[in-house]
């Protein structure tokens, strides 16, 4: 194992740790948007597909790369759109009375 691979393992480990801390905090309410969001973000594999499709490394590589670009792109476009669509639907109950006089008026008398 060389130095680059060791650093990659570090990156993997730390990303996993941060990911665990962050994702554990997401409430069940938003678990479907979470799946859609990770799908969209994992479309980052587009960067690998781009290199393969554009490197002119033979016909096979170009064909596979082009299909891979299409798949990853579909996930990015579709994933971000649907996550946004879903998250826009989650709304609180509108407060019936927003006049602050009613709610804060008497609270200081103990």
């Amino acid at each position: 194992m060389n130095a680059t691979q060791t650093i990659q393992l570090f990156v993997f480990l730390l990303a996993g740790f941060v990911g665990f801390q962050t994702i554990s905090r997401i409430p069940p309410l938003l678990h479907t948007p979470l799946m859609a969001a990770t799908n969209a973000i994992s479309g980052i594999s587009l960067v690998a597909s781009l290199v393969l499709a554009g490197s002119a490394a033979g016909q096979l590589a170009t064909v596979l790369g082009t299909i891979a670009v299409a798949c990853a792109m579909a996930n990015i476009v579709g994933g971000f759109l649907i996550t946004d669509r879903m998250l826009a639907m989650f709304k609180r109950t509108p407060l019936p009375d927003t006049n602050p006089a009613h709610t804060t008026g008497a609270s200081h008398h103990d």
Binding site: Q5, Q8, F12, A15, F20, T22, I23, I26, P27, P28, L29, L30, H31, T32, L34, M35, A36, A37, T38, N39, A40, I41, S42, I44, S45, L46, V47, A48, S49, L50, V51, L52, A53, G54, S55, A56, L60, A61, T62, G65, T66, I67, A68, A70, C71, M73, A74, I76, V77, G79, F80, I82, D84, R85, L87, A88, M89, K91, R92, P94
Partner: protein
Amino acid sequence: MTETVIQVAYLIAAFLFITALRALGRPDSARRGMQLAAFGMAVAVVATLLQARIVTFEWIAVGAVVGSVAGYPLGRWVPMTAMPQRIALSHALGALAATLVGVGEYSHDIALAAMTRSHVLALSFEVLLGSLTVTGSAMAFGKLQEILPGRPVTFPYQNIVNLVLVATALGCLGWLIAYPMDARVFVSMIGIAALVGVLFVLPIGGADMPVVVSLLNSYAGLAAVATGFAIDNNILIIVGALDGLSGLILSLAMSKAMNRSFTNVLFGAFGAEASVASDVAAGGEMSETTAENAALRLAYAERVIMVPGYGLAVSQAQHQMRELGESIQKRGGEVRYAIHPVAGRMPGHMNVLLAEAGVPYDKLVDMDEINERFADTDVAVVVGANDVVNPAARTDRASPIYGMPILKVVDAKSVLVLKRGRGKGFSGVDNGLFVDPKTSMLFGDARQSLLDLGAEVKSA
């Protein structure tokens, strides 16, 4: 210089992605967070186009246009009821991209005769996990879309066959580390992994789908991690790790909500053995009611809890449920919605459906919290849910679902069950709730029943 620009762009993207996941912790910050993530994605992609290995852009453009045209309807027009299959499909697409990149990189390195052992190890993991996820997700998609039979399909020695295949695939991987240039073994390994993907989802029934869809999410992420190792790309490692962990956390949460171990879900083929023990428990008659009578009770109830299940998604009745809830609220009743973690076919399925219908999210209450409230609830309305409200899970040790955490609907003062017919739930287990003296059954399509109830409550 260019290389530094690219790496800094990836760093920014990684930061924005993690920020977006943090923002997903709260519904009011989530949307802005994801918009930032989309921006991060754009930065990463544009920076990648600067890379020296990219010399032509025509095929990139073709792929990007095709992908965008395919992705737009997947994002804009897919109905919320179809979310589980939509998610399964995008696991398949993501994994296909990873697999194809793996094959392409392998052929590229073979041509240059520049294959190292560590490189072939990463590429092998990439295509192994990738192809397994592609066929597994395609199977899950087929079952959820009802192109394939949704019931578990089993055959003799199933688990042994699967284990042998997995062992063979790993054997191929070992062989490749010793002989990296053996392309035939590389291709065979992909074929075997693809077969494993099919066989692995074949015995999974509908109600276990939340676990499997989450698990496939995890595999797709790990395939991306392997891609990152194979092409020395840190952002792929980071994003793959986030994706893989998110899938793992969700599938563990789902198994826990069914009180079943991971291995039991994957190798247990639930429906097959369940019906043996359950015939004893059934006793009593279901008492049927009419929409008119049921509506009268709802109209004068002070506290109502709606309990949606997969049947709500099947009959696409989320809007009718919200309308009924609003009519009850207009008459002075308080309405909440009880969400079981595995109601539906994917994590959070019911939340998204009801949010789509316009139910405010503070009315959607998780199982642990709502279970305390059933006792002082006048009417609990169960729509298309069965196993998640079955009291046998708490009382009957012989029941196959014994131990599964359930919504304590049976504690409510009265229960109204909307059900298509007199049949059993997914697990084939009888449900004591339906024959309980305080339960009334309203048979028929959920959507029509809710519509009738809503109209009757308004005029009551």
